[in-house]
């Protein structure tokens, strides 16, 4: 069976599991909202300040929420040792990883779909005219986040204190992504919205580097 097909089966399974309970999605959205609201206590932004600090806030909220949400990805599979069942099946380990990455990408994107409009309302930022470009930035940024987060979920599943370990491993690693995503988003929220090609290219580069590294190293992540 090709990796793509196997990954699709795993993806379907992940989606089915999550949509049955929706607990992870709900928790992620609420948590990100809490972060956004907490930031509002730190300062009361004027319109210009919103434009300057808003994107940073947004992506920090996503990063925090993401690093918590991505942990159960592999941790859940320790229930009834279902990961063993997947590893025994005649599929490549990359298929398992890819299926989970795609599932997490979808979940994170859904959460963002809810959060971004709310955020725009809370900080009085207009989304008019920049929606598609914003979606592009969100897609590239979220992809980097979910690739690294899912990989590190696999790593920290073997460790103690994994809920604390995952953010500790992932957040420093994601700082370039944070910078690129924030800059791209900020240039879209600026007075003259513009798509910053340099940062977009950087985001794409980041995604490619880490996806390739995951592909090369996936056997070591899952083997025993």
């Amino acid at each position: 069976m090709t990796t793509a097909k196997a990954a699709a089966i795993i993806l379907a399974k992940e989606l089915r599991l999550e949509f049955r309970t929706r607990e992870l999605l709900t928790a992620t959205v609420i948590f990100a909202l809490v972060v956004v609201v907490l930031f509002s206590f730190a300062f009361d932004p004027t319109a210009a300040e919103s434009r300057r600090y808003g994107p940073g806030l947004l992506w920090i909220a996503f990063l925090f929420a993401g690093s918590l949400m991505l942990n159960p990805s592999f941790a859940r599979e320790q229930n009834n040792e279902t990961l063993d069942a997947l590893r025994m099946a005649p599929i490549s380990s990359f298929a398992i990883l890819l299926g989970k990455i795609l599932a997490n990408f979808i979940f994170m994107s859904l959460a963002e779909l809810v959060l971004v409009p709310i955020f725009a309302v809370l900080y009085n930022l207009s989304l008019a005219g920049i929606v598609w470009r914003l979606i592009l930035v969100l897609v590239l940024g979220t992809l980097g986040l979910t690739v690294t987060g899912t990989v590190f979920s696999a790593i920290s599943a073997h460790a103690r204190m994994r809920e604390l370990l995952l953010p500790l491993l992932v957040l420093p690693l994601l700082t370039p992504l944070l910078i690129a995503a924030v800059e791209s988003t900020a240039s879209l929220f600026a007075e003259q919205p513009a798509l910053d090609r340099t940062w977009l290219a950087f985001l794409a580069g980041f995604d490619i580097v880490f996806l390739t590294a995951s592909w090369l190293l996936c056997d070591h992540l899952l083997e025993e």
Binding site: T148, V151, I155, S156, H158, A159, R160, M161, L165, L168, L169, P172, L173, T175, P176, I179, A180, E183, T198, W199, F202, G205, F206, V209, F210, A213, L217, H220, L221, E223, E224
Partner: protein, 244 residues
Amino acid sequence: MKARFTITALVALLIFCAGYAALFIAPDEATMHAIQRIFYFHVASWNAMFCAFFVAFYASVAYLVTGKRKWDALGVSGVEVGVTCCTIGLITGPLWARPVWGIWWTWDAKLTSTFILWLLFIAYLLLRGLVEDPEKKASLSAVFAIFASLDIPLVYLANRLWRTQHPQPVIAGGDGSGLDPTMSKVLLLCLFAIFCVMILVLVDRYRLELLRNEAAELRYEIESRGLDATTDYAATPALQKGAQ
């Protein structure tokens, strides 16, 4: 044993010479005067740090490819030494910056990247501490080290694109940079001296790790033969040959 002692003595001598040179032989810098002398050790520790982390990266890849534990031992040694050098750099930096520029810290490209580097490899050490099975510990930390190493150029690039406030590198910078020839010589001496110290510490740490592994192996052998680790079996001839 003798070789190690000689080498250690030589390196100690080298450091002494380098220190003396940095403090007394190098000319006084025009604007910063005495405090500038920290530059020799500051730059040298960055250099040592990069070498140590490169060793760690190479060892991580080698471990994943060959599966031999010695590479894992080299990897952790490289990271520990690298983190130490990084800490030295991060401390000497502010010590230099404060009197010269009036600020302890600034979030410019180089400093931020280095701080992230430090955080990443501290995370590596934490990861190792939290995984119990030695094989998993080795392979997972190797994977993480590779990810971290791939990340570093990206961190630097991102920060560089974002802001630049660090003074132009004195040696390889643009126009107007360049060192007084005596200073260059002293710098090279210090670079080499600190590099040698780093290698020495690295090798010692590597040896320590190998010894620890060997001790664990021996303990395992003893247990697997059902023997007691505290009894002196050498004294009982009957138990010496392959008793199981």
